[in-house]
Symmetry: C2
Subunit: 247 residues, 2 copies
Amino acid sequence: MWIMKGTRNMPRTGEAGAPGVDPEQLWLGSTRPRRGRKPAYSREAITAAAVALADAEGLEAVTIRRVAAEVGAGAMSLYSYAPDKETLLELMVDHVTGELPAEHTPGGDWRAELKAIAHLQRAHMLRHPWLPAALAGRRTPGPNTLAFLERALAALRPSGLDGAAKLEVFAQLTAFVAGHVTHEIAGAAALRSPDRLAAEARYLAAVAADGHHPELAEVLTAPGRPLTPEATFTRFLNRLIDGLDTE
Amino acid sequence: MWIMKGTRNMPRTGEAGAPGVDPEQLWLGSTRPRRGRKPAYSREAITAAAVALADAEGLEAVTIRRVAAEVGAGAMSLYSYAPDKETLLELMVDHVTGELPAEHTPGGDWRAELKAIAHLQRAHMLRHPWLPAALAGRRTPGPNTLAFLERALAALRPSGLDGAAKLEVFAQLTAFVAGHVTHEIAGAAALRSPDRLAAEARYLAAVAADGHHPELAEVLTAPGRPLTPEATFTRFLNRLIDGLDTE
DNA sequence: GCTATTCTCGTACATCGTACGGATAAAGAG
DNA sequence: CTCTTTATCCGTACGATGTACGAGAATAGC
């Protein structure tokens, strides 16, 4: 089913002029062959197991061996369903993107619809905290991602932006949400560990006390009202979208 | 010098309630001990070698063994200078951040100064393409990062935002730039490989031809003027910053 | 049945982060 | 000076990872 790629002894071309994942092979190929042994597992089941693992224990728990064990297969069997681990990540990303509602309801304010899309993405990424990292720099949207893109493009129709601009808005928006959520998750993780939080606070206090960081010192002594991530997100998102126009 | 951390046989607590790097140990500790053998290398040199390696061959080329070889040390010697690889990444991030000018020139438009800061960050990340990935979710700013933060806070002084809000603006801005640059770099890498670009184009064309993606089809047939990453960045950045106020 | 095809998965290997512990060097104590 | 204490250096070794290889098992067409 797959031609294995073989990265092990590759000449290391410096900074990876590398192919990444071939979207044609992955998403467009090919029907079940009519001969040979029947597959014992399925891409669907393997992907779902990998996602469950990432949700429960983080991306670094997603190893070929762990995922294979989870579906009851031998490690090497996974390679009949995906040519390498990169591709498995690709499958995971598109799999969870299928959870997002992709129907566009026409009419109404397109800016509001765009904001709703971004809020959906944020909630989604918070539900799958590994997603921002797995998403980074990906350029070969699978079917679910394309369906969601379709919705975003439909929402952008009344904006009067041209094609390239609409694509760019979606990409930038997604990148923005991913960046925010990455930061938000790190903050939440710190909050969950009192020791760590205290160490951070002591560190910043020590720096502020050295006299070379007057602005930081002031910020720490007069923090003002604490901000919820939700509020911060909404605020910046509104800035971003309310300013969009066709100029 | 370091107490080694030992992650190998850790019980796997599910989603890492883990400590990350302790900023007090790392940035505030400690003067040269008065006894014992003199260090043959330096944290500075090791960090610089790691950065050079990442610049030339990407983050995944930065292995303990490679970095050690680069400075002429045995692999295990690096652990006298940093307790683990995570910490080495921390050192790398702060090291390159030292390239950014941290002096604040008072007076003038604070929004313009903030925009200038973001443009500096973008250029910086393009020069060190591994930086966005290495930066993700980091919460323990080193001295150079703190100096740059100090500049940003000084720039934000006339904005009237309170302490927490100023910190949040800086964090969000950095996350935004990192997100953008990650996307920009992926695009540039694709452009460098004509085969891959052609495969992506064929794939999208095939999807657009299936009749289920009318918006995508239209976008591909009427793309409009192509956008430079520079222009896109400036546009979104201006949206973000011009909307900032104290409301 | 025979053969071509396809999937399964045990074994093996290079490479990674890093624990362990002996060798080596520097400084204080006597 | 010798002796002890302490830091650093690093060879060796271990567990884990991605995945190449190829022998066996299952299926379909002849």
